[in-house]
């Protein structure tokens, strides 16, 4: 057994931390919450130059050929700094779906562009009856000669406002088996009939309503096979779930630090607040939630990276990290006290983001139910 990051991963972590502490300060995070784009081209380009967008792509597609575990290291730091912008949607939801399902031509066409920071891709999955099961996919794509025509509304589509391409998860066949009959379409975001409307969200994430109104997509733009899209979606969702866990772990680390800073400085009754056992026990619980979240995330990411069976670990991890990181930020608020309730204190950024992250790709109940299946209950 070896619980440690390797040397390269430690270097990556250090470099990412250093970069983000300069380029993604809390003030910038707040600005980007108000900014309709959610990112500046300057920062995005710098990230591309560091090779982050191509980290997990093979070298022949302009990437670095890093592992999923390497990506996890980066995501922890992004969560620590509350990095705004479309990294998650473009690289993980878009890039990983293309890696899983794109043919050679599509990969050659898009992945190097993503790696260079020139192309944005997102995944349009959830709908009005929102959820992460195949029953919830109702947006239809119907065959029309050599094209497909998509109709319906996708909701909560991250960063669609920036996207050059939207991968639309659509129903192409109705039947008893809901997993069958789902197809992935690579849609040019400029296509006629695509209407994107931003949604105002409490954590500052740029989510959108995307209406497909008779949108024509050539059949050559199907990713993977017709009707066989769900297994791909499922794979991407699993990786995305653990990627979110990594962000939450990073955020949790910062929340812990903010709590410790405050209770180590503030005095009441003539002593440091951090000397009271009630406060110490809150802090002990915070670090327990954090350490266990980190261990679970590392294990799941390692299993994904190694190509080992991981359905069980992914369900456990997303459930555990979702609940734990929410609880830990709430406890951090309790430890920090009134100051932390102020907008200008950074803790509130994490309180909002952790809750949003917990909901993405299945909340704790969803994953416990998935785990119950794995357990044969």
């Amino acid at each position: 057994m070896d619980y440690d990051l390797n040397e390269e991963q430690e270097l990556l972590k250090k470099a990412a931390k250093g970069f983000l502490s300069k380029e993604c300060k809390p003030l910038f995070v707040r600005e980007m919450e108000e900014n309709p784009h959610g990112i500046t081209p300057e920062l995005w380009q710098k990230m591309a130059e560091l090779g982050w967008m191509g980290l997990i792509f093979p070298e022949e597609y302009g990437g670095i050929g890093g592992s999923y575990l390497d990506l996890m290291v980066l995501l922890v730091e992004m969560g620590y700094s509350c990095l705004p912008g479309p990294f998650f949607s473009t690289v993980i939801l878009g890039g990983m779906t293309l890696m899983e399902a794109g043919n050679e031509e599509k990969k050659q066409k898009l992945l190097p562009g993503i790696a260079e920071g020139k192309i944005f891709v997102t995944l349009a999955l959830t709908e009005a009856i929102a959820g992460y099961s195949p029953e919830r996919i109702a947006v239809k794509a119907e065959k029309d000669a050599d094209d497909f025509v998509i109709n319906g509304t996708k909701l909560f589509v991250p960063d669609a406002h920036l996207a050059n391409y939207i991968i639309c998860v659509a129903r192409t066949k109705e039947g008893e088996n809901k997993e069958d009959g789902i197809t992935l379409f690579l849609v040019d975001a400029k296509s006629q009939g695509v209407v994107i409307t931003p949604l105002k969200t409490f954590a500052g994430d740029k989510l959108n309503e995307v209406v497909f109104n008779n949108v024509k997509v050539p059949k050559g733009n199907i990713l993977g096979e017709l009707d066989k899209g769900w297994p791909i979606v499922k794979k991407v969702l699993q990786k995305a779930a653990i990627a979110k866990c990594a962000e939450m772990v990073g955020g949790g680390q910062r929340a812990l630090e903010l709590a410790i800073e405050q209770v180590s400085e503030r005095e009441q009754f003539g002593v440091k607040v951090g000397s009271f056992q009630a406060v110490q026990h809150h802090c002990a619980n915070i670090v327990t939630y954090l350490d266990t979240s980190r261990l679970m995330t590392h294990q799941a990411a390692w299993r994904i990276s190694e190509g080992l069976s991981c359905e069980r670990e992914i369900a456990m991890t997303k459930a555990w990290v979702t609940d734990s990181c929410r609880s830990l930020v709430a406890l951090a608020h309790q430890a920090v006290g009134g100051t932390g309730f102020m907008e200008e204190h950074d803790l509130q950024l994490y309180f909002r983001r952790t809750k949003a992250a917990g909901v993405y790709f299945g909340n704790a109940d969803f994953h416990r139910e998935a785990l119950a299946d794995v357990m044969g209950l």
Binding site: G274, A284, V287, M296, R303, A319, E369, M375, L377
Partner: protein
Amino acid sequence: MDFEFTKEEKALQEEVREFMKKESTPEMLKETEDMGDIYGGPEGRKIIQKMAAKGWLTPTWPKEYGGLGVSDVASYMIREEMGYHGLPFGFVAAHMAGPTILRFGSDEMKKKWLPRIASGELEFALGYTEPQAGSDLSALNLRAEDKGDYFLLNGNKLFNTSCHIADCHWLACRTDFDVAKHKGVSMMIVDLKSPGITISPLITMAGWQTNEVVYEDVRVPKENLVGEKNKGFYYLMAALDFERMFPLGRYHRVFDELVEYTKKTIVDGKTLSKDPLIRQKLAQLSTEIEVTRLLYYQLAHILDKGGIPNYQSSMEKTFATECAQRIVNVGMDILGLYGQIKEGSKWAQLKGKVEKFYRTSIVETIYAGTSEIQRNIIAQRGLGLPR
């Protein structure tokens, strides 16, 4: 990174499991359960001595003292399996005293005691707690007077489990009353059959026995002093850093049996395992058991790297023992009215194990440092908050 056992460790695990399944007897299982997993009963001694002959009781010790010189991960794995398979897993001599002797004892002491501990021949009883010294262990005041070639001991110990079945007392006593409390403590090995020792049983709500032990003019030879005089509190604390851990095995087993129970128990035309609330609860517990596993082997990993677990051992102990309580509480909820029925009735479910472990679990968050003390340690040593 790597979260799995090595090929060798996996092979050892298989071998250990086979051995435990083959060698377990109903008598041993009952004795272990009745005594609270401590070592020293006649049935336990039979199986443990067979196991010890393979080096499995003290696998990390050097070969010359009866170990195998293998990794701490392997050692932790064996302890987990012992708990899971119903063998005694609470060892004072092999897992607490022995490592301290190995670290701080003289060569004579090592030669005299370690091989007999590694073989399972000797078990010690922990001699720390006194009526006024529980969480505040440094307040212990069982007096040991230096009489030249022996110490003369007088005083009381409380909740000293194992004394009625162990061979020796692993005793913390006060050798100096004139210095700071923690600077006047020494560790000694005392033969529990020494004249002047009176052991009185205290029966717990779990049905287990613990003891009150009275020392009246008990003579202990000088050679039984561990390490240096007045350094005992330091040894004791160091031992806790190395040895504080809680294998969840026993409660993990109950959980697995509970899961099987819900799969085959039909209520209102469907199995309990199809009830959405029960599914949520069991999935949550299964997740917590996995979290415990990671915390547990993290300690072994730190030791294998040559480090000393710091706040991590407090975290593992607290998480595991609190998890154990949640497991049996959910178990009692799932069994409902049946949960109350004790072993022996035809209506008892899972041999009454759930109610029994429901009772036993309450002490796990109290002994070996309460959850509150552990959280103090996590905050003060792990996070640097002021004492």
